[in-house]
């Protein structure tokens, strides 16, 4: 296996980090940036303040969100034997959106909104697996997808209802903005709360990385090869839901990352999960970090991150499709 894809990913991530710290309304040169970083968070001066309390937490949140969504997408695409699924397939985003909308409706503080979003995502996926587990006569993967669509629709209806009931001057814009996704309000506390959850979800994915490929075979084939398919599948769902929920809680719904990045990762390093997972994590982190840097510095106003990822993601996806998708 050649090393160049990893080199590309490493360089891209480094670029994302440096540009994320340097670019913005207050542009920092290499010397300023280095001095601010070395000076520590308590140093005097504008550069230190900008780097340590604004850009670093936001960059960390972006890296976290990109890594999380891409890992979840890579897992789900293998598990559902379908390169067109995204982390939302089991209703995680709709559930999180409804949790957040309800929390905004009840006037909860930011922490409450995040907790409600996380809980909503978990609840939606939990409901889907519960319902799917009771259906025995059909292909379990198909049942999961269909249950995911149905429950996702229910939760989306709930979001719409919350919007109708919301106070149109304060609550409605805040719900809409949350659903668009963005990191403009990211704080060090957000990162500190989301990071352990993302780590807890990534760990089983990394540990099981050499077995996940079996899920791309039919259930019977994987079972005959010695794999406990239902258990592996459930482990993957729990892990992917944890990382997705944590990401949605701090960033809202950031679309397209979990769909496009796994494709690009497979193009770079091939379909084996043991390689495509780490590649997707690196690429996703870089992608969201760069998108977020653009979101806050490309225009006079801050663009919602979700719009930007869709603007880049959808054409990239079409290009991958047109290319013939050798590795997808």
């Amino acid at each position: 296996m050649p090393r160049w894809p990893w080199l590309i990913l490493g360089v891209l991530l480094a670029l994302a980090v440096v540009s994320g710290l340097a670019a913005g309304p207050i542009s920092l040169g290499p010397a300023d940036l280095l001095r601010a970083l070395l000076g520590g968070p308590s140093a005097e001066g504008q550069a230190a303040m900008v780097v340590w309390s604004l850009r670093l937490p936001r960059l960390a949140a972006a890296l976290l969100v990109g890594a999380a969504l891409s890992a979840a997408g890579t897992s789900y695409q293998a598990m559902f034997r379908n390169p067109l699924v995204s982390p939302d397939i089991l209703g995680a985003s709709a559930g999180a959106g409804m949790g957040a909308a309800l929390a905004i409706l009840f006037g909860l503080p930011t922490l409450g909104i995040q907790a409600a979003a996380f809980a909503g995502g978990l609840a939606a996926v939990g409901l889907v697996t519960l319902v799917a587990g009771r259906v025995r006569r059909h292909d379990p993967v198909l049942v999961l997808v269909l249950a995911g669509i149905a429950i996702g629709t229910l939760f989306s209806a709930g979001i719409s209802l919350a919007k109708v009931l919301a106070d149109p001057t304060v609550q409605l814009p805040s719900i809409t903005f949350w659903l668009l996704g963005g990191l403009s309000a990211a704080t060090p506390g957000d990162v500190a709360r989301a990071a352990p959850l993302v780590a807890a979800g990534l760990l089983p994915l990394l540990l099981l990385r050499h077995r996940v490929d079996l899920l791309t075979l039919s259930d019977e084939e994987a079972e005959a090869l010695g794999e406990d398919v239902p258990r592996l599948r459930l482990t993957l769902i729990v892990a992917a839901t944890l990382v997705t929920g944590a990401s949605v809680a701090i960033a809202g719904i950031v679309g397209w990352v979990g769909l496009v990045v796994p494709h690009a990762a497979r193009l770079l390093v091939g379909p084996r999960f043991a390689r495509s997972l780490p590649a997707a994590v690196l690429l996703g982190a870089a992608f969201v970090a760069i998108a977020d840097t653009l979101a806050r510095s490309a225009a006079a106003i801050e663009l919602p991150l979700g719009i930007l990822t869709a603007l880049v993601g959808a054409p990239a996806f079409l290009w991958l499709l047109a290319r013939g998708g050798r590795s997808s």
Binding site: N82, H210, D213, E220, L225, G226, P271, R272
Partner: protein
């Protein structure tokens, strides 16, 4: 030594039997061929013998112990399965696919080891597909895919191989290659249970033939005595004269 045994086995889906009362024994170093028309229950029987489908009634024993008494991993070290070739979805290389056969032979979290790679490599060499190792599984021909799946089962190093119509999608040369490989595996002491739609293949390689009609074993025993033109004509609802003409005369090679 008996490796695989079915006793008054009823099999099917969700409690609805596809077949009933199957008694079948497979020892190491023998080839048993299963003949029967489409929809006769061959694949369902195989799934039940492999333990991926629970029996409705009766029992499957592997190496003397009930199938349910073995863990999945133990089972996969005893029984290897070659399904009918599928198209595949992700662009795995042939070597990746064959390596999946080593799943039950390594730790839960372990990467494929040197030994796993060696086993995969030698399984491919054995079938003459070593040159396909770096090729993409979704881009090779149906016959090459079938050989890759046979190699995967060989890499599994199981004592029993269950092959579901292994020659169905192969050209003439590859059919001969698979059949002669099946014979060599038998000579190495592996027990082989295979289904085929070509009775002449069964007559050529089998030590015993079993005829499955509508989910029941209507006959089993030595090839020439079991797969008679009369029985085959009835089994496949075909013209007796045509069947007799297709089957080579006793002693002749098809």
């Amino acid at each position: 030594m008996t490796l695989l045994e079915a006793r008054s086995l009823s099999f099917g889906y969700h409690g609805v039997p596809v077949g009933e009362g199957v008694d079948l024994v497979l020892a190491g170093g023998e080839i048993v061929c299963l003949l029967g028309p489409n929809g006769g229950g061959k694949t369902t029987l195989f799934r039940t013998l492999l333990g991926v489908l629970p029996p409705i009634a009766g029992e499957v024993r592997v190496a003397g112990r009930p199938l349910a008494g073995w863990s999945r991993r133990e089972r996969a070290r005893l029984l290897g399965w070659v399904p009918q070739a599928h198209a595949g979805l992700f662009a795995f290389t042939v070597e990746d696919v064959v390596l999946m056969g080593r799943t039950a032979r390594r730790g839960r979290f372990a990467a494929p080891s040197r030994r796993d790679h060696d086993a995969a490599r030698s399984a491919m060499e054995r079938l003459g597909i070593g040159r396909l190792a770096p090729r993409v599984y979704t881009q090779i021909s149906g016959g090459e895919r079938q050989l890759a799946l046979v190699a995967r089962a060989l890499a599994q190093e199981a004592g029993v191989l269950i092959l579901d119509e292994p020659t169905a999608s192969l050209d003439f040369g590859n059919q001969l290659r698979v059949l002669s490989e099946v014979r060599r595996l038998r000579d190495d002491g592996i027990g082989i249970l295979m289904s085929t739609h070509q009775p002449e293949h069964a007559l050529e390689v089998a030590d015993r033939i079993a005829l499955l009609e509508a989910g029941r074993l209507v006959a089993q025993g030595p090839p020439r005595e079991t797969a008679t033109p009369e029985r085959l004509a009835r089994l496949y609802a075909a013209d007796l004269a045509a069947v007799a003409a297709r089957l080579a005369p006793a002693g002749g090679r098809p």
